[in-house]
Subunit: 205 residues, 2 copies
Amino acid sequence: MNRIVTVGREFGSGGRELGRRLAEELGYEYYDREIIEQIAEHTSFSEEYIHQIVEGRRHRLYPITINHSFNFTSDDHARIITSVYEAQSEILHQVSQLSDCVIVGRCADYYLRDQNPYRIFVYADLDSRVRRCQARSDGAGQFTEKEIIRHIKRIDRHRARYYHDTTGQTWGDKRCYDLCVNTTGKEIKALVPHIAALLREADEP
Amino acid sequence: MNRIVTVGREFGSGGRELGRRLAEELGYEYYDREIIEQIAEHTSFSEEYIHQIVEGRRHRLYPITINHSFNFTSDDHARIITSVYEAQSEILHQVSQLSDCVIVGRCADYYLRDQNPYRIFVYADLDSRVRRCQARSDGAGQFTEKEIIRHIKRIDRHRARYYHDTTGQTWGDKRCYDLCVNTTGKEIKALVPHIAALLREADEP
């Protein structure tokens, strides 16, 4: 069985960087939300599937995607959302079969629980997260601190809801993870080799 | 300034073993509840102090212990408890001045917050904690699983209340710690060198 590391993270905590560096350190494949969504977009069954969701038409879903099929109705929004999750779950299972990997986000800790992943959660104080956002080169510098805080809180609310809707568990609850890392005042790059050593230890029989 | 590591832990999670081994690994002094209480008992001011509490007499407390003095009254239980905490805080500050150290429990993460301690919280699934208790050589083997669970929950309720009363924070809330380690299915001994490496990293300027 391939070794799977999952990384949940608060927005601005550096969790994605930690996941990416961890994959490099371990020589594992790396996946995050963007990559999973790209795979979904370029997979033949899911092109049709996404099209159905966008159009909102009554349509028989592709059975492989959701393991069962049903018809959309106008009041079936919750079931559509569930189907999106199930499509992502299917992709997560597929990539987890290919090689050892680090997966950031996507409730991978829950979906791949049968594969005994090493589950990390990355968090930080709000101030630290604001500063990390401001230091990014993606244009966050043009926003005020107040705007960045509002954005952080909005994204985290969304993640918490997504995680709870999918797993029935509380996002960021330490019981859902093997290791919770507070990155406040820490350099991600420096932490990674030691976290890698910790989870290699967990892999030992 | 000496380097301080604090370890909060759920009962049966192996947190004390982790703290002790971490101290060995780092070459730091080690303190836990028993040791702090022994120090309190053998400190001249606190012998008198503890005697007062046991006797429940009206008495002027030793000023060094509590930084101010007042008289006991029959309805002053909360203030007595506060004074016990303050005596422990005083001892924690004293030992933290002596050398680098690992301190298990006693809300040391909170009391010594001005010294920027590296704060660890150790936890585990209930099943894992029961098994760890059963494997101990201190006679836990004579109790039924149900009795051990009841004991675990009682101790943890007490710790949670003690932590909350002292700090105003929630015991085990990951925001209060730098690292939260789930020991379910893990061997403490194997984790320690990597946790030591992580916190050495945190000490780097």
